[in-house]
């Protein structure tokens, strides 16, 4: 480093203007290339972030003009944490996190089997990836019919198997969230599977071979080679899983619209409902701020946790 600056200082004075002109040109080209992207991000993301923070301390509806804006300090936030639907939504968001370890375990087992023990591996990859690639709207519409309480195929099958009073699934406040979670696992298993398969490719084969020589059994190899060496992959999946589970919107919006009786509402759905159906712009913005803070906190936790228990090779 010091060497570079010394040679820099040694350049004859006459070369300096040319060099700085060159540098100016590089800078101009730099801005030219990143310009569209940066402008887009600034106008459509950075400004809205600042705006949403400002709006979160107002009582306003966008159909009224800007002059109707009323500042009301932290009132929105106070109301928010006394609002039963918001609290229910927040709670549901945390329940939804359960789908992440479930999906991780199922897809890891599937990945191990697909990786070594089957023919037609590529075909199976496509099969399990299909739900992830399909439109959530289509998937949700199909499940609405499959889970129909009285004549849906799921309950018809259950009744014919002798279940007297099958749950009403999406129409039942006790089962709706569980149903959503099952569908969520089904949708995301393909994504986790692909990532785990890529992770398995990176484990050196000789580790397993030397374990074989030591007489380790399958469980042993799984516990002391596969799991630890996949920990960066698992960590990646956990983090993206947590971050994205707070963004599940399409599935809920189409499948249940947060119902019945708010039993499947999540923050982003309640935010949407408040902003665009109930036209409470300020109130919805305060939810957005809570969402932003949650995202920040998760990212912070990720940094801390990464140091602790990820085993990078």
């Amino acid at each position: 480093m010091s060497q570079i600056s010394r040679t820099g200082a040694g350049i004859p004075l006459s070369a300096a203007p040319r060099r700085s002109r060159q540098r100016l040109k590089e800078t101009l080209y730099g801005y030219l290339f990143i310009g569209p992207m940066f402008l887009g991000v600034f106008v459509f993301t950075v400004l809205p972030i600042l705006a949403v923070i400002a709006l979160s301390i107002t009582d306003w509806s966008f159909i009224a003009g800007l002059d109707k804006i009323k500042w009301n300090g932290l009132d929105n936030f106070e109301r928010l944490f006394r609002d039963p639907i918001f609290l229910k939504s927040l709670q549901n968001n945390f329940y939804l996190l359960v789908t992440i370890p479930v999906t991780m375990i199922l897809s890891l087992l599937l990945a191990i089997v697909l990786n070594k023990h089957v023919f037609l591996k590529d075909l199976f990859k496509v099969v399990f990836f299909m739900p992830y690639i399909s439109s959530i709207v289509a998937v949700a519409i199909v499940y609405q019919v499959l889970f129909h309480p009285s004549y849906g195929p799921v309950n018809q099958a259950l009744i014919s198997l002798g279940v007297g009073n099958p749950p009403k699934w999406l129409a039942d406040t006790h089962y709706a969230l569980i149903s959503v979670m099952m569908i969520q696992v089904w949708v995301s298993i393909g994504f986790y599977l692909i990532i785990y398969l890529a992770g398995l490719q990176n484990i050196p084969k000789d580790l397993y071979e030397s374990a074989d020589i030591d007489g380790a059994n399958a469980w042993h190899k799984f516990r002391s080679i596969t799991v630890p060496l996949l920990s960066p992959t698992s960590f990646f999946l956990l983090v993206t899983g947590v971050i994205y589970s707070f963004r599940i919107f399409d599935l809920i919006a189409v499948l249940t619209a947060g119902g019945p009786a708010g039993s499947t509402s999540v923050i982003v759905y309640y935010l949407y409902d408040s902003a665009f159906n109930n036209l409470k712009t300020g109130y919805a913005s305060s939810m957005a701020v809570v969402l932003l803070i949650l995202t920040l906190a998760i990212t912070g936790l990720q940094w801390l946790a990464q140091k602790k228990w990820v085993n990078y090779q």
């Binding site: 400004l47 966008f62 023990h117 690639i133 199909v142 019919v145 990646f236 935010l271 949407y272 957005a288």
Partner: protein
């Protein structure tokens, strides 16, 4: 133990066959919702909920169902066209914007590059729903609300695309780009005729992912479009399902129509999709 493994190696791999059969059964069960959807879309309405389920329709009504969907009161042909327009435009613009920015953030050295890149990267963390409200207000002011142009614009500035392509530009051998510089090529020529062709596979990967994400997008059309005539397939499908609540065969013909083109693209571009997903491509 060793004798046994040696023996199985020489003969038929029974274990592998057994696993394959098991996974195949699992795969079929996994795809049952899709199979039900396809088979229902071929049925007469009256047969939809017959039990035991008729996986192969007893009376075929496929032609009628699909004609109704494509040419009925909510003609899917029209929504297809809308979706194709929006998806192709978004993909094209997004690929241009992201690859340019990726080149700028990796090859060109200029003051402030690091900070600007951090700003762009930091926005990747922000959930789209958190900024929906101000975006909506902004769109109404700018007159972009309820237009395909506005919708395209929303999908055109992808941090993920920029980040991914940047990684590929950074992986290029510096000599390639240096020699172009010595030949007197400016950045525009180096970018178009040297750097971009070298990362073509990555560009293809990103383009396919962006295509799929835009095609499947429900949230943005839901919020930023209002007129029926502008609806994309996802919105139309929802509307259709709400209108024809008791016409399940028709609804399923609609969902099949919406999924099939994507499946074709996925099967053709499978390698790219899987590569992009392995890169950490969660919609963004």
């Amino acid at each position: 133990m060793t004798e046994q493994t040696a023996a199985t190696k020489r003969t038929v791999p029974f274990g592998k066959i057994a696993w394959t059969v098991l996974v195949a059964i699992l795969g079929i069960v996994f795809l049952l919702p899709f199979l039900w959807m396809v088979s229902t879309s071929f049925k007469l309405e009256a047969d939809v909920f017959n039990y035991p389920i008729e996986w192969i329709p007893s009376t075929w009504n496929a032609v009628q169902n699909y004609t109704d969907v494509w040419n009925g009161q909510y003609p899917f042909a029209h929504y297809y066209w809308n979706t194709i327009k929006v998806t192709l435009a978004t993909t094209a613009i997004s690929v241009c914007v992201s690859s340019m920015a990726a080149y700028g953030f990796s090859v060109i050295r200029f003051r402030g590059r690091g900070v600007l890149f951090m700003v762009v990267l930091a926005t990747y963390m922000v959930p789209a729903q958190a900024i929906l409200v101000p975006q909506f207000v902004l769109y109404r002011w700018l007159g972009l609300f309820d237009s395909h142009f506005g919708l395209v614009l929303l999908g055109s500035f992808s941090v993920f695309g920029t980040f991914m392509l940047r990684q590929f530009f950074l992986g290029l051998h510096p000599e390639y780009l240096e020699s172009a510089k010595l030949d007197g090529a400016g950045h525009i020529r180096t970018f178009v005729s040297i750097a971009l062709p070298l990362v073509k596979p990555a560009v293809a990967t990103y383009a396919i992912l962006r295509f799929i994400w835009t095609w499947n997008d429900y949230q943005n059309p839901l919020i930023f479009l209002r007129s029926d005539g502008l609806y994309t397939l996802q919105l139309a499908m929802r509307k259709f399902a709400d209108m024809y609540t008791q016409h399940y065969a028709l609804i399923m013909a609609g969902t099949v129509s919406a999924i099939v083109p994507l499946l074709v693209i996925f099967v053709v571009g499978q390698k790219q999709v899987i590569e992009g997903i392995s890169f950490g491509g969660v919609k963004g």
